[in-house]
């Protein structure tokens, strides 16, 4: 995860998946401060809803709260590109919300400067009825490919799973190591010849 102040790399270990509550996650793209603040603010509003209504808020409701809040700040320079993922009575929910107040429901999204590269891998491998392992590997690969091509993406690829009992973190792999895991450097010719000679 890169955090950039202009073109300088401030950190490789920023948490870009924000835990709103135990069954809802938000992703961070755009301005870090904006995303962190408004996600925490959303968490507060969700908790107030639970206390007022004696039941958990739906993903649809939570994403609408965030979208409406961001819409009221439209034109003031907030930079937020986020996805709200959660589980409620109607099942799993995924919404894309941005600083213009846009809100979209969907099965898959990719957000941020590296998103075109991630979409390429994501769209070609996605099936609605994938297993959790297949989906998490697809997500990891999509993020890895985005970090390879996009200068402003990199660091750690975190994968979370959101289920009926809430979210769990599945993996957090350094993309530098993922590269050599997916594309190992073949041993040089000289080394191969020496191995063969030793085997004889």
């Amino acid at each position: 995860m890169f955090l950039i102040g202009f073109l300088y790399l401030a950190s490789q270990s920023v948490k870009k998946i924000i835990e709103i509550n135990p069954y809802m996650l938000g992703t961070m793209a755009g301005g870090a401060a904006d995303c962190q603040f408004w996600h925490r603010n959303l968490g507060i509003k969700c908790r107030l809803h639970e206390l007022a209504n004696k039941r958990r808020i739906s993903v649809s409701g939570a994403s609408k709260l965030l979208a409406n809040m961001l819409y009221s700040y439209r034109g003031m320079g907030l930079s937020v590109g986020t996805m709200i993922a959660g589980w409620d009575e109607t099942g799993p929910g995924l919404y894309y919300v941005d600083n213009e107040g846009g809100r979209l429901k969907g099965d898959r999204f990719s957000v941020g400067s590296g998103s075109p590269y991630a979409y390429g891998v994501l769209d070609s491998g996605y099936k609605f009825d994938m297993s959790v392992e297949e989906a998490s590997e697809l997500a990891r690969r999509s993020i890895y490919h985005a970090t390879f091509r996009d200068g402003a993406s990199g660091g750690v690829a975190s994968v979370y799973h959101v289920g009926p009992n809430g979210w769990t973190k599945l993996s957090g792999d350094d993309v530098g190591e993922l590269h050599y895991h997916y594309y190992p450097v073949p041993p040089a010719i000289a080394e191969q010849v020496m191995e063969e000679a030793a085997a004889e």
Partner: protein, 204 residues
């Protein structure tokens, strides 16, 4: 649009005991998008003089071609290779010829002179030569490189130790710059041999 940051680059040269090392990153990008991870920034002029160019990639390639041409002409006329100091002056003159429409690159020149004494220098895009006794840096990651080299450099290092030092300085600096990295390319040159190595770096 910052033209020196359009393609991204990182170049460093260091002096050792009767040897020198010159290293660069391998990324070619168009602003944030990475296009290639095997771009050649370091070029050999002859066995004892190397030049690495940072900055706009098209000018890196064109300037290299013009310099090779001028050196070949020199070889035909003088029947010998150019000394590194002479080559540096040639580069400086060629860059200043385009004073009001410059080549958008910053060269780093490294070579072994008379008595195998290592020579390094860098230049800005209009030919201002800057000689150094220890190390020179250039490119979008230059500030990080200055810090890393200053901390890691020791005088009179042998070839192997020099290779380790320059590699670590390069890799740690490009990891702080979005526009350079994606591997490293290092040449360590002693009076008897030229060792070329590719570094495995972070590919993000």
């Amino acid at each position: 649009l910052q033209i020196f940051e359009y393609n991204g680059s990182a170049v460093v040269a260091m002096v050792g005991k009767n040897c020198f090392a010159i290293a660069s990153d391998r990324r070619l990008g168009v602003q944030l998008q990475t296009i290639a991870t095997d771009f050649q920034r370091i070029s050999k002029i002859h066995d004892r003089v190397f030049i690495a160019l940072s900055g706009l990639a098209t000018d890196v390639q064109t300037l290299y071609q013009r310099l090779v041409f001028r050196h070949k002409l020199y070889q035909l006329r003088e029947e010998r290779d150019m000394k590194p100091e002479t080559f540096a002056s040639l580069v400086s003159a060629i860059l200043y010829e385009k004073r009001f429409g410059p080549y958008l690159c910053q060269p780093v020149i490294a070579g072994l002179g008379e008595d195998d004494k290592p020579f390094i220098c860098t230049m800005d895009s209009i030919g201002a030569k800057e000689l150094a006794k220890d190390f020179v840096v250039s490119g979008t990651a230059s500030e990080s490189l200055y810090g890393a080299c200053e901390a890691m450099y020791k005088p009179d290092m042998e070839a192997e130790e020099l290779f380790e030092t320059i590699s670590q300085a390069l890799l740690s600096s490009v990891d702080r710059d979005c526009l350079s990295g994606w591997g490293g390319h290092v040449y360590v040159v002693t009076p008897t041999e030229i060792k070329e190595r590719i570094l495995k770096g972070r590919m993000d």
